[in-house]
């Protein structure tokens, strides 16, 4: 693990999945249009399955707008869904976006939003006005300050994880070891 430290730490502004007091917190800075992040999505799901209540997962947006023209609106749409439909809707949207990375035009985003139960007109209006841009940029800036060095970048209990996230068994073993160490303290 590196010296790069999550800044700010996980707080009430974050999208959090899993047990609130879990000994291990995994934060992902991701981009909904990034292919590596798409491949990381099932890895995270597998980690959640294996770690169960010992893992809390947080997603922060880090859209690479120069590389990915749809990333910003995808991130804003996810925030809009959270604002209008709550955290469960956000996570449903998060999964839909990573499972449909090949279709991220605005009309696609609105259809995914609608399928989470959120009024798509509200999301359309947020995209048009840029109402969620500040919220997304807040995540991006925190990533800049934390040492994000690509997408996805993971932080484990506040430290950047420089291990190979594509090796899910090794990643899970690292997290299990941390959970045990935290429990023993």
């Amino acid at each position: 693990m590196s010296n790069a430290t999550l800044n700010p730490p996980v707080g009430p502004q974050d999208h959090v999945q899993g047990a609130p007091h879990a000994p291990v917190t995994l934060v992902e800075y991701g981009d909904f249009e990034c292919g590596h992040c798409g491949r990381a999505h099932p890895v995270v799901q597998e980690l959640q399955r294996q770690l169960g209540d010992t893992l809390r997962f947080v997603y922060r947006s880090f859209p690479l707008n120069q590389a990915h023209p749809h990333a910003e609106h995808a991130a804003e749409a996810a925030e809009s869904v959270a604002a209008h439909g709550g955290e469960d809707a956000f996570w449903e949207m998060h999964d839909l976006l990573f499972e449909n990375q090949e279709a991220l035009e605005d009309e696609d985003l609105l259809a995914y939003a609608a399928s989470t139960g959120v009024d798509e007109q509200a999301v359309a209006s947020d995209l048009a006005s840029g109402a969620m841009a500040t919220r997304v940029h807040q995540d991006f800036r925190s990533g800049v300050r934390s040492g994000v060095n690509g997408t996805p970048t993971f932080f484990v209990n506040g430290r950047r994880y420089d291990g190979d996230w594509t090796d899910v068994e090794a990643f899970a073993a690292d997290l299990h070891a941390l959970a045990r160490a935290t429990a023993a303290r």
Partner: protein, 180 residues
């Protein structure tokens, strides 16, 4: 990184040293020198090669942070041993907005003078150098070559520069006030 992993003969420049001057080709018909940016902070990004195979590589990530660097008036300059035509193709393909300088002839000369060259590999280290408006090195960092360092250290150094400037301005203002 342990010293045995280093292949450069000289250590990376460090805080307090005068940044070695240089002039390098940015495009096939244009050169850039360090002196061009006197008066504003400069961030030198030494990196091994263009065309690394991941999206959001080190250069790409700093490119995405253009607005953040602009807040400090800081100029980012990438430096590798790739030639100017290679840099031009890479910048076009990845929409890179800051200059990429070709440390190409004599190969690695500037990287070597900064202590950021890997002799046995024949390319630059992954190293970061923040230089202040007066041309003095204020912060430097040598990253393990396989790990992108991110930008947290750069921005912490730029923050330190900015707060120092503010307190100097405040001192100057206070000095002026006592004269009145």
């Amino acid at each position: 990184m342990t010293s045995s992993e280093r292949s450069t003969s000289t250590p990376l420049v460090s805080a307090g040293q005068i940044a070695p001057p240089f002039e390098l080709r940015a495009t096939p018909d244009q050169t850039v020198s360090l002196a061009d940016f006197r008066g504003r902070p400069v961030v030198l990004v030494f990196y091994p090669a263009d065309w690394s195979p991941v999206c959001g590589d080190q250069i790409g990530i700093y490119n995405e942070m253009a607005a953040e660097f602009a807040e400090y008036g800081a100029q980012v300059l990438g430096i590798s041993v790739d030639g100017a035509w290679c840099h031009a193709a890479f910048r076009d393909a990845r929409h890179i907005h800051f200059p990429l300088l070709a440390d190409f002839e004599p190969k690695g000369d500037v990287s070597r003078r900064y202590g950021a060259y890997r002799e046995k590999d024949g390319f630059s280290e992954r190293a970061l150098v923040v230089i202040d408006a007066a041309g003095v090195v204020r912060w430097s960092y040598l990253s393990p070559v396989g790990i992108n360092p991110g930008a947290d250290g750069i921005f912490a150094a730029l923050d330190a520069l900015t707060s120092e400037q503010r307190s100097q301005h405040a001192d100057a203002a206070a000095g002026a006030a006592t004269h009145e």
